[in-house]
Symmetry: C2
Subunit: 211 residues, 2 copies
């Protein structure tokens, strides 16, 4: 499963998972057919992410689901993740490529066309583009007001690597994002805060697959 | 210059350097004879630290002064630093050793005797121990109220690796810290916020050398 096949992408965030642990949410998402998982958890220490990351690596590897680490290349190396996802304020894509090697997956957040082209030029394997819609999660790399499907289309037209839409995406609006040119959609709350994360993942996967 | 020879250790913090850049403060400290520099700058992005780190690497390498990176092993690798300094909430010492290799310098913050022994056992090359005195800088790994020279002595007696005292240290109290068993002293404000950082570094070095 490489980025060109990623239709559903879960970004972890324990703070909105209620009584469930991140490992439980990820397990449910795997059950529902998630294509890739990103360990983010920005509000915890590196040590906590390392401990969680080792557990997620074991679970995702058993299911043959790629695991990507947000921001920290060292953490990705430490837990033998499949790659990293870098924001515009993180270490450069070229540094990640050099440290992780050719086989690693390096993603980059980019919603401005210039940033998207630069990331592709620097060797990114895919882009995370958004926020597509208004979103409750905070990320300095995301457009604040939502770029909409048109914004996704602008980026997708400008690069030849896969574009994953992120930000405020639900089963109700995911089709528009893929219609606009996204390969797939990344979500936090649509899975993490769902009553039934496995069912929510499955539903999201169906919507994207049917576009 | 290895940790067993470190008498003066500067930890960078741009927020208290006034009109001077961190590069200027580090240059002045080098002029004053600093033995080692740690890039910390916790309040900036990884990208900013990477850009600053490249400049600091060039400057420190030219002066043959070791450069240590706080927390981020990947950043240390990216800028070819001499090593990392890890807190109790950062990635484990053993992970740093594995990623950086035997020749890298791996330091660890520890003020509890048990933590100090564990860090030594895991392969740390030196300890940062404190806060020795009350300190204005915030660090979750530091004892809040100051462990005093007695606390430094307890750690220094428990391990055979060098112990660097940190937290509230000035030329006026540095001798007590070294008397207690520290190899050297780490400071932020005593150099960074000094009227003349080069002179402050030199003064601190004289105090420690004369113990």
């Amino acid at each position: 499963m490489t980025p060109s096949n990623w239709e559903t992408y879960l970004v972890t965030q324990a703070s909105i998972s209620g009584d469930r642990s991140t490992l439980e949410v990820v397990s449910a998402a795997i059950e529902g057919g998630i294509d890739v998982v990103q360990l983010r958890e920005k509000d915890t220490t590196a040590r906590s992410r390392y401990e969680l990351g080792r557990a997620l690596r074991e679970r995702t590897a058993a299911a043959d689901v790629p695991l990507i680490v947000n921001d920290r290349i060292d953490l990705a190396m430490a837990i033998d993740a499949d790659g990293v996802h870098l924001g515009q304020s993180d270490l450069p894509v070229a540094v990640a490529r050099e440290l992780l090697g050719e086989d690693a997956i390096v993603g980059c957040s980019a919603w401005r066309v210039d940033d998207a082209r630069a990331a592709e030029r620097d060797g990114a394997d895919y882009l995370g583009t958004g926020a597509v819609y208004g979103t409750s999660s905070k990320d300095v790399d995301e457009a604040k007001d939502g770029i909409g499907p048109d914004g996704v289309a602008a980026v997708a037209d400008a690069v030849s690597i896969p574009v994953i839409g992120i930000g405020g995406i639900t089963p109700a609006n995911a089709a528009d994002v893929v219609d606009a040119g996204a390969t797939g959609v990344a979500v936090i709350s649509a899975i993490t805060a769902a009553d039934d994360p496995a069912a929510a993942t499955q539903q999201l996967g169906k919507v994207v697959a049917n576009v």
